[in-house]
């Protein structure tokens, strides 16, 4: 290997941490190769002549005296055509190729480039020789998948007049253009490298405003996240974090999805790998896999690579953002990432902060989420892209006061609080509507008016207040029983129940219910609230609440979520039927009362 420079030797091995001495000019966060098997590692501390290295592979069998090589390069990812549909480990080794080469198990010392060196891509230039370009300008495109046009950008530090550019079939390492003049001339390939721990540059950050539609009703209508925003999903085990993350990865209206399985179950990644190529994206009509990049560093894979996996993921996300795409990144789970930091920190014998986590936990978490955003991309023209980050948090015992959750809540703008009690009742998604919040609701609802209907926000707030009232009334019921409620209050309870059961509850495993368009969400909510309003009129006219709830349309409302996206006009029909049915009750009541009065007068 030509890239190796100085050679040192190991003096200490403790789990994933190796201390080496005698390295030639090591720098912080430089990549090193450890031992005869040349395991990948990264320098994370320097003391005099000694460098502490976190090793991304199992360290069994290493011992003092084994060689360590510096590479003079920081840990970087390869960016270029070939990312889409890939599945990588935490340091961007393609797991499918590792499987081809090494079989069922991940063995050590396997070196594997992130992008295939053999595969040829059809490059179509959009600038021509003689054009002036700056860093970030698009030189040309590659149709990487049926839904994704990969835009080849001028790499960092390069710019000037395009000397030469050629279209055709090339590998990622072939030179496709020469940019700049004289000694500044740069040979540009379709692949660039970027150090994972440094955010990719942009011109300007903008405030997020457009909703990321996920097809999940409780999220889109009640607690929406904006494109370029941040959200977190904390919850105890079994409350459905992973299903929510998968649902967002499946149905969000983003151009590119980055799914990071960080220290989670192996079978969950397998599920994604099996499902995504078969599921069809409702927005493009192509398999979901055609817009997805997976990073899988499962819980039993080396812990240091888990620490790196979120950085690998977000760097790839930023790269697609720079092309002008809307990217959604899911990290499941950030708690495992934090635990990886804790483990390494412990081995470094750093002074611990809360619960053994390093004192810099909060800073690292904040810095990670801050790499999300809606930005004006770095280029000569106007181009806007975004990275939305949704991080799952796994608080021990479901206790939200623990350090990782708290550090996360300080930075994210949307909080979907999962509750195991709801999960036990099989209320899914088990997002507790009383504790969750979204700080994007006002911005996003402005867009609703354009996209769906001006009354959407009002409707949502009304439904929310019903749920709020329900929780207060529940207290009363618990103390003195349901008999103590007035008809009006009974109706509030029933209305809230309908919002909960017929709107919030959504079955991820049902073919129709798994995804609901924004328009259908609006129609469904309007249907429920129409019933509530009409029923209110009926009660004001002294109709028995039992009679109102007994109308057959109630059952139809319960099944309205299963109305398919093609038949949305059924909602109008149903709404009219509800109004008429209740109107009928009111009339009958009025007639009855009139009849009762007649004999009196006679």
């Amino acid at each position: 290997m030509a890239e190796e420079q100085g050679k040192g030797r190991i003096i200490k091995v403790s789990g994933p941490l190796v201390v080496a001495a005698g390295l030639d000019d090591p720098r912080m966060y430089d990549l090193v190769r450890v031992g005869r098997e040349r395991l990948m590692g990264e320098v994370i501390e320097l003391r005099g002549d000694e460098a502490s290295v976190q090793v991304y592979e199992e360290t069994g069998g290493l011992g003092p005296g084994d060689p360590v090589f510096t590479t003079g390069m920081p840990l970087s990812v390869e960016l270029g055509p070939g990312l889409i549909e890939s599945i990588y480990d935490g340091v961007q080794r393609p797991l499918n190729l590792l499987f081809d080469k090494a079989g069922n198990y991940i063995t050590r010392g396997m070196e594997m480039p992130g992008l295939s060196r053999d595969k040829k891509w059809e490059f179509v230039p959009i600038v021509k020789a003689g054009d002036e370009v700056v860093e970030g300008d698009i030189l040309g495109t590659v149709q990487e998948s049926p839904v994704l046009e990969h835009r080849i950008m001028v790499p960092a530090g390069v710019g000037g007049r395009v000397q030469d550019i050629k279209g055709g079939s090339y590998t990622v390492t072939d030179v496709i253009a020469t940019v700049g003049e004289g000694s500044d001339a740069a040979q540009v390939t379709m692949m660039q490298k970027w150090p994972v721990r440094r955010g990719r540059p942009f011109k300007k950050k903008l405030a997020p405003y457009a909703p990321l539609t996920t097809g999940q009703r409780v999220i889109d209508t009640f607690f929406p996240v904006a494109k370029g925003g941040t959200a977190c999903v904390p919850g105890p085990f079994g409350s459905g974090k992973t299903v929510i993350q998968h649902q967002i990865a499946k149905w969000a209206d983003a151009d590119v999805i980055l799914f990071i399985g960080c220290g989670e179950r192996g079978n969950e990644m397998t599920e994604v790998l099996i499902e995504f190529p078969e599921l069809i994206d409702p927005h493009s009509g192509e398999p979901l896999m055609k817009r997805t990049v997976l990073i899988a560093n499962t819980s039993n894979m080396p812990v240091a690579a888990r620490e790196a996996s979120v950085y690998t993921g977000i760097t790839i996300a930023e790269y697609f953002r720079d092309m002008g795409y809307q990217v959604a990144l899911q990290a499941d789970s950030t708690s495992r990432w934090a635990e990886a930091m804790r483990e390494i920190s412990g081995r470094l014998e750093e002074m611990p902060g809360e619960e053994g986590y390093p004192a810099y936990l909060g800073t690292r978490i904040a810095a990670f989420y801050e790499r999300a955003g809606l930005v004006q991309c770095k280029c000569s023209g106007e181009r806007v892209g975004s990275v939305t980050v949704v991080g799952a948090v796994s608080p021990p015992g479901g206790d939200l006061s623990e350090p990782v959750t708290q550090a996360t809540l300080r930075v994210v703008k949307v909080f979907w609080g999962l509750e195991d009690k709801l999960a036990f009742r099989r209320h899914f998604p088990a997002i507790n509507w009383l504790i969750s919040y979204s700080l994007y609701i006002n911005k996003v609802s402005e867009m609703w008016a354009e996209l769906v209907d001006p009354s959407f926000k009002e409707l949502r707030d009304l439904a929310m207040s019903l749920l709020q009232q329900e929780s207060e009334l529940e207290e009363i019921v618990r103390l003195i029983g349901v008999e103590a409620l007035s008809s009006r209050e009974r109706l509030v309870m029933e209305g809230a129940k309908s919002v909960r059961e017929d709107f919030l509850q959504q079955n991820a495993f049902d073919d129709v219910d798994t995804f609901t368009s924004l328009e259908k969400q609006f129609l469904l909510l309007r249907l429920i609230m129409t019933f509530y309003e009409e029923a209110g009129k009926a009660i004001a006219a002294d109709v028995e609440i039992g009679d109102v709830l007994a109308i057959p349309e109630c059952e139809e409302i319960a099944h309205a979520k299963f109305i398919s996206e093609e038949n949305l006009n059924e909602f109008d029909v149903l709404e009219r039927k509800v109004t008429e049915a209740i109107g009928g009750l009111i009339e009958r009541k009025a007639e009855e009362e009139a009849e009762e009065k007649v004999p009196e007068g006679a």
Binding site: K12, G60, I106, G397
Partner: protein, 456 residues
């Protein structure tokens, strides 16, 4: 690498030995420790720094001294000798025969730490395992290749439950028999003996492998026991193509052994004194379950752990729940009421349920029916709680029906005999039967045609 022997022990602290002036010790290397009385124990290297090696002794340190103890570095990690002949045998916690049988003539020696399965190589678990127990099959079904722990507590019948699962499990339609790999960690002789008798009496011993570390065996040995057992399981499943059911009991003692070593190393503790890497460590055990593409065998894991004070948020059940694909939780309340198996179905969960059931696997109504039973039972429990506070009279007619449903559900659906093996059809029929208690209009989670088909 040759075997190197040293007599340069400097410190002995708890289960740890610090050896000086060692050349070329490797991290995680196997060592033999020769006690002054001539007996030999095993250990492994936890840390090497310069010429010092920190060793954990699997057989404890009683009787060791600094001047006469010999430490031999074996130049390799800890390995298990495997061959087809391990079936029917009983080993100690480190994989050495402890029945009267001969030494194993190995086909292979395999490092007990295994290697992580490449997520790309995994095949998704989709085959329903019929355990013959309604509370599991009907509501929280076990799937071939799943890891589904039993969260139990002191005095609850988790051993009987695990034995019944091992006895009755079949893969529906495929008539596959399970081999059982059983690992005991720190349990009592009586508990271990129960399983051995159980396997003998059902002749399951022929296709079982037992690894036994009892309560009075060295605690640190327990750190190796599940790894040894899973190495045997991987050999049986992926080299011999068998369906393997691994029972690990009791994981709580395993974690305590880990804590003991961590404390002796003066590591910064996480919650309740358990080391910060407990999650990762447990994952390296639990994640060794699964199926692999192109392999006919599989490993299904049933770890058993006793929750201290029945507290589900204790770090051991908590971290386990985050790694495993669900959990079966036993309830002291049901046990007191004399219900066996005392499975608390509401907080229990099988994450792979949706993939293992339905048309072509069990029956098309299975998923909807189980959701209906869940929500009706949950509602019934709530109604009963309300009745405790406000009295029965405060319940609506509907709530009274739900309360009755939940009683009947516990009594007829959850409760069953220890040797009662219900087919999935029987379980589902029972579920529909119970739903008749409720008004038809309340059954919102099942479809109309299912009601017509199965309730009339």
């Amino acid at each position: 690498m040759p075997i190197r022997e040293y007599m340069t022990v400097r410190d002995i602290v708890g289960p740890l030995l610090l050896v000086e002036r060692v050349q070329e010790a490797k991290y995680d290397e196997l060592v033999e420790i020769e006690f002054p009385d001539g007996s030999v124990g095993l250990g492994n290297v936890l840390e090497v720094e310069g010429d010092k090696a920190l060793i954990q002794s699997f057989e404890g340190t009683r009787g060791l001294d600094v001047s006469n103890t010999r430490v031999r570095f074996r130049g390799r990690g800890m390995e298990l000798a495997v061959s087809r002949d391990i079936l029917g045998r009983v080993f100690d916690g480190l994989g050495r025969p402890m029945d009267d049988g001969p030494e194993i003539i190995p086909d292979e020696r395999i490092n007990i730490n295994g290697s992580p399965i490449n997520p790309f190589a995994r095949d998704y678990p989709t085959d329903f395992i019929q355990t013959g127990m309604s509370a599991i099959d009907g509501l929280n079904p076990l799937v071939r290749g799943q890891k589904l722990p039993i969260f139990s507590g002191a005095g609850l019948p988790h051993s009987r439950l695990a034995a019944q699962i091992a006895r009755q499990s079949t893969v529906l339609g495929a008539e596959m028999e399970f081999s059982v790999v059983f690992a005991a960690m720190g349990i009592t002789f009586e508990d271990a003996d129960f399983f051995m008798q159980e396997f003998r009496s059902t002749a399951a011993i022929e296709r079982s492998v037992l690894f036994i570390n009892l309560a009075d065996d060295p605690a640190v040995e327990r750190i190796a026991t599940p790894r040894v057992a899973l190495t045997a399981a991987e050999y049986l499943a992926f080299e011999l193509g068998m369906q393997v059911l691994v029972i690990l009991t009791d994981m709580t003692y395993y974690c305590e052994a880990l804590r003991e070593v961590s404390a002796a190393r003066k590591e910064v503790p996480g919650r309740r004194g358990y080391p910060g890497y407990l999650y990762t460590d447990l994952a390296t055990i639990y994640e060794r379950a699964g199926r692999i593409k192109g392999e006919s065998g599989s490993i299904t894991q049933i770890p058993i752990l006793s929750m201290p004070e029945d507290d589900k948020t204790h770090p051991i059940p908590d971290l386990t729940g985050y790694i495993t694909e669900g959990q079966i939780i036993l309830s002291r309340e049901l046990h007191r009421e004399g219900i066996y198996p005392p499975i608390d179905v509401l907080p229990s969960l099988s994450r792979l349920k949706e993939n293992g059931i339905g048309e072509g696997k069990t029956r098309e109504d299975h998923s909807d029916l189980s959701n209906q039973l869940f929500s009706a039972y949950a509602r019934g429990k709530e109604a009963k709680e309300l009745a405790v506070i406000l009295g029965e009279a405060a319940l609506t007619e509907e709530d009274k029906l739900y309360a009755r449903f939940s009683d009947e559900f516990e009594d007829r659906f959850v409760r069953q005999g220890e040797f009662e093996d219900r087919t999935i059809e029987e379980t589902l029929a029972l579920g529909w039967e119970l739903l008749k208690i409720l008004p038809r209009a309340e059954l919102k989670r099942v479809k109309k045609d299912q009601i017509e088909k199965y309730m009339e």
